[in-house]
Symmetry: C2
Subunit: 516 residues, 2 copies
C-alpha cells in the first residue's frame, strides 16, 4: 500500500476508500448527478421491478467518479451484486467512493456501519495499490457453507480486469508467470512489473485462482476504445474466454462520450490544472478520432488555433475539411502552447519532442493509457528535474542543451499534467453526468444482455467467444431516453414514410454500417 493510506478494512464488508466521512458530500453530488442522468434513471424505473440483474455478481473497474456511483447504484437497483475498483490511479472522486460504500439513504448505512457496495479506490493510488484493488473485485465473500466465489460478469474500462484474468489463467496453464522484461526490452514498463508481481503473489497463494475465477465469468462489457482493441486482439487469436460486448461502439457512447464528453472535460482539466488562457494560443491535438474531434472543437471554441496530427488519411482529411491545419508533431512542436494526445497509441510524444517544446508549454494526455507520452524517457534525460506545482501538475525543468539541428537551447520547462494519465480525470472530474448517462445506460443494457444470455452472444460449437455490439434498437433507446431532458421533440414517421425508407416506425432507423 502507498503512503496515501486508505482506511482500514471495516465490517460488515470489506472495502477500501479514502475516508467514509466524505460520504455525505458524495451523496449530495450523486443526488444532483441523478438529475443529469436521465438514461440511468429511466432504466431504474423501467427495469427496477423486473430485477433483470438478480444473481449477477459484477466486478466493475471504471473511474470511481460521482457518475459511476449512479451507474453502480443502477446496477444494484436492477438486482446485481457489485464490487468496484477504479480503472485509473488518479480518477477516483473520494467522496463518491465513500458515498457508494456507505450506501443510499434508504439502505440505512452510515460511515460506521456502511450498507452500500464494496469499493476499492482512492485518488492517488500507487501502482501496487491499483492492482491490489483490481484483485479485490475478483474475490467475493464466500456465501454461507459455500466455497470461494468470483464474479460472473465483468464491467471493464480499458480492459485491465479482463487482461488480469486472461494473463493469470495463461500463467496457470503454462505453470509459470513470465519473467520480468528489462528496461528497454519490448513490453517493459514499470506497471508491467507490478502486474507480474501481482500474478505471482496471487498464484503462489492459490495456484488455481484464475482458473476458478475465469470459469465463473459469463461475459464482459467494455467501455472504451483501448479496451475494445485489446478484446479484439484476444478474439482474433481465439483466446477470448467469454463473450464481450463492445459498449464503446454504441453510437450513443463513442459519438457522445468520446466526443462531447471530451469537449467538456478537456478545457475543464486544463483550467483546473493550469488556469492558463487557451484563446489566441496554438494547440496541438494528436489524433482526430472521436476524442480528437471533441478536443479540437473545445480548443477552437476557446479561441485557440488548433493543429491536428493523424496517421489515418481519412481522419486527416476530416480535420482539414473542419478547418484545422494538419501537421506532424516534429514539424510544429516548437510553436505550440498545448500538446494533447488522444490517439490510444504508444509513444506519440517522445522525449525528443518534449525537449523541443516551447518554454512553459503544457503537455497532457487524454487517451486511455499514459504510454502515449514517454514520461519515462523524459525522466531518464540527463539534467531534467521534476517540480510538483500541485498534485497531478508537474513542471519539468529542462537543462540548457543543443537541439538536434545544432541550435543552442536555454534552460526552460514544460508542464506535464497527471503524469501523462488522462488529464480530464486526473486534473478534473471527467465527463459531465449527462454524457456519462448515455455511456452508462449502454453499460447497464450490456450487463443485462450478458446476464440474460441474449441469443446473439451464444458461442457456437467449435467456435471461440467474440466481441459484439449492442443491437441498434437499444442504442436508439438510450438516445430516446435523453431527449426530453434537453427539450428535444422527436418527429414520428408516418407509416408511408417508414415504408418508403424501408424501416419500422419504431426503428431501428439505419443500416448497421451507417456512420452518424
Amino acid at each position: 500500500m502507498s503512503d496515501s493510506a486508505p482506511v482500514p478494512r471495516t465490517d460488515p464488508f470489506d472495502h477500501r476508500v479514502r475516508d467514509l466521512a466524505l460520504a455525505t458530500a458524495g451523496r449530495h453530488q450523486i443526488r444532483l448527478a441523478e438529475h443529469e442522468m436521465p438514461g440511468l434513471m429511466a432504466l431504474r424505473r423501467e427495469l427496477g421491478d423486473a430485477q433483470p440483474l438478480a444473481g449477477a455478481r459484477i466486478a466493475g473497474s471504471l473511474h470511481m467518479t460521482v457518475q459511476t456511483a449512479v451507474l453502480i447504484e443502477t446496477l444494484t437497483a436492477l438486482g446485481a451484486q457489485v464490487r468496484w475498483a477504479s480503472c485509473n490511479i488518479f480518477s477516483t472522486q473520494d467522496e463518491a467512493a465513500a458515498a457508494v460504500v456507505v450506501g443510499r439513504p434508504e439502505s440505512g448505512g452510515s460511515p460506521e456501519e456502511p450498507a452500500g457496495v464494496p469499493v476499492f479506490a482512492w485518488k492517488g493510488e500507487s501502482l501496487a495499490d491499483y492492482w491490489w484493488c483490481t484483485e479485490q473485485i475478483l474475490r467475493w465473500p464466500a456465501p454461507e457453507g459455500a466455497g470461494q466465489q468470483g464474479p460472473n460478469l465483468i464491467l471493464d474500462d480499458g480492459g485491465d480486469v479482463t487482461m488480469l484474468v486472461h494473463e493469470g489463467l495463461a500463467a496457470e496453464n503454462r505453470g509459470a508467470v513470465p519473467g520480468d522484461p528489462k528496461p528497454g526490452e519490448r513490453g517493459y514498463s514499470e506497471e508491467k512489473l507490478v502486474v507480474l508481481d501481482t500474478l505471482r503473489r496471487i498464484i503462489a497463494a492459490e495456484p488455481t485462482f484464475f482458473s476458478r475465477v475465469a470459469a465463473g465469468i459469463g461475459g464482459v462489457s467494455e467501455e472504451t476504445t483501448t479496451g475494445v482493441h485489446r478484446l479484439e486482439q484476444l478474439a482474433a487469436s481465439g483466446d477470448l474466454l467469454f463473450p464481450a460486448i463492445n459498449v464503446n461502439d454504441s453510437v450513443t457512447k463513442s459519438k457522445f462520450d468520446n466526443r462531447y464528453g471530451i469537449r467538456h472535460s478537456l478545457p475543464d482539466g486544463l483550467n483546473r490544472a493550469t488556469d492558463v488562457l487557451m484563446g489566441g494560443k496554438t494547440a496541438f491535438v494528436a489524433g482526430y478520432g472521436d476524442v480528437g474531434k471533441g478536443a479540437a472543437e473545445a480548443l477552437r471554441g476557446q479561441g485557440a488555433r488548433v493543429i491536428v496530427s493523424e496517421i489515418d488519411p481519412i481522419c486527416a482529411l476530416q480535420a482539414a475539411m473542419d478547418g484545422y491545419r494538419v501537421a506532424r508533431l516534429e514539424d510544429v512542436v516548437g510553436e505550440v502552447d498545448f500538446v494533447i494526445t488522444t490517439t490510444g497509441n504508444v509513444d506519440v510524444v517522445r522525449a525528443e519532442h518534449i525537449l523541443a517544446m516551447k518554454d512553459k508549454a503544457v503537455l497532457g494526455n487524454i487517451g486511455h493509457f499514459d504510454n502515449e507520452l514517454d514520461i519515462a524517457g523524459l525522466a531518464a534525460t540527463p539534467g531534467v528535474e521534476k517540480v510538483e506545482i500541485k498534485p497531478q501538475v508537474h513542471e519539468w525543468l529542462l537543462p540548457a542543451d543543443t537541439a538536434p539541428d545544432g541550435a543552442a537551447r536555454p534552460e526552460r520547462s514544460v508542464i506535464v499534467l497527471s503524469e501523462g494519465r488522462l488529464l480530464n480525470l486526473g486534473n478534473a472530474t471527467g465527463h459531465p453526468s449527462f454524457v456519462m448517462s448515455t455511456s452508462f445506460a449502454n453499460q447497464v443494457l450490456a450487463q443485462v444482455e450478458l446476464h440474460r444470455g441474449a441469443d446473439y452472444l451464444e458461442v457456437a460449437d467449435g467456435e471461440t467467444p467474440r466481441v459484439h455490439r449492442l443491437p441498434k434498437v437499444l442504442d436508439e433507446k438510450v438516445a430516446r431516453d435523453h431527449l426530453a431532458a434537453l427539450g428535444a421533440q422527436l418527429t414520428e414517421l408516418t407509416k408511408d414514410q417508414a415504408e418508403y425508407i424501408g424501416v419500422d416506425v419504431a426503428g431501428p432507423y439505419k443500416s448497421e454500417h451507417y456512420r452518424y
Copy 2:
C-alpha cells in the same frame, strides 16, 4: 421533347445538349476544375497507362456538371467508352455538357465535328425529355457487323437507370407494363406516368429490349443515399440483377460530399436563388443525417438560428448536443424563415405545412427527390397561384384563409426553389470540385472494381447479387490523394505503434464498423 428544344442530332455520333457553341466556356471551367480535383487527376496519372477500363461501356446518369465532366474524362482516360445523361432535369450545366461532347482539346473535336463523349442532357428538361435521355444511354451504336449493343456497366446517381432496367425487364417477363396509377393512388406521381409511358414505347418497339440490355450489364456503382436504399430493397427481395457497389457509403463520399459539399452548396443555392440574408433568421432543417449536418452547420455559419427535426433519436440527440433546437415542423413552421429538407424521405413538408409558413419564407429541398415536398398538394390547394420570379424560383401566392386552429390568415406567399428538386443543383452549380473529387474518385475505383470483377463481387451459386462497399484501403487511398492539395502532412505510424493498435503501417487503419 419539350419546348426548350435541344440541338438536333449531329454526326459523327448522337448526342443532345443545349448548344455546342458553349463548349469553349465549358472547357475553361473544366480546366480549372481539374486543378481542384486531385483525386481524379491522381487516378489518371496512376492508371492511365494500364487502361483498366478498356472494354467497359459505361451508361452514366449523374448531374451533368463541370465536375462530372472531369469524371467522364477520367473514365475515358482509363479506357472506358461512356454515354451520359443527367440524373435531374435542372442540374445540367449546359457549357459542361457541350465541352464533353466536343471533347478534350487533344481529341481535335470542334462544335462542328465533336469528338468527345455522347451526352444527353440540358438544364430544364421536361420529364419526357429526362426519360428519353435516360433511354439513350442504354442504346449503344452497334459496332460494324454486330447486332445492337447496350452498356456493360451502370454509373448511377439516385438509381433511375437501374430502376428503368429492372422495371423494364420485369414488364417484359410479365408480358405487360403495369397500368397507370390514378392521382391519390399509392405510387402515383406525374413522373411515374412518364416512366410507364417510356417503358411501353420502348417495349412496343422491341419486346426484348430490356432482357437484352439487362443480360449485358455486369454491375452498377451508385452515388447517393436514396439510390442505395433502392438497391438494398432490390437486394433484400432477391431481385437485384447484378452486383452493386455502394459508393455513397465510402467514408470519403458520404462524410465529405453529403456533409462538406452541402455546407458549401446550400448557402450558394439560397444566395443565387433569393439573395436573402440568412443571418439572424431562423432556419428549419428536416433531417440530421450527413446532408442535414452540413446544412445546419452552413446556416449556423451564416448566423442563422437553426431548428432541426429528426425521426431517429440518435441523430436527434446529436443535433441537440451540437447546440440546435430539435422540434417538429408543425410546432415551429410559423416562426421560421427557411425550410430545408434533407431526409431522402417522402412528404416531409406537406401542403398544410406550406400554408402555415411565414409570409415570404423560403422553401427548398436538398434531398435527392422532389417528393420530400408536396408541391402537387400545394398546387391542388384552391386559390393558390404560382408566379415565376426567375427560372427555378417561384413565388406561390396563398389566398387568405382560415388556419386549422381557426385563426384568420391574410394573403401571403412562400418562395419555392427548383420546384422542390435539389436546390443546390437547381439554383446553383452543386458541390464544389474538390469535394466532388473525393466522391468521383470512389466512383472511378468502383467502376474499375466492377470491370475487373473483384473477388468480393462474385455471386455465389444459388445466391442473388448484393450491394457492396469499396474496401477500406481504397477509401483511404482517396483521402490520401486529397491531402497534399490542402497542405496537410500525414503522420506515419512506427512499426511498434502499428503493432500496438493492431494495424498495418500502410492501413487499413480502422475496423469496418468505425464511424469517423
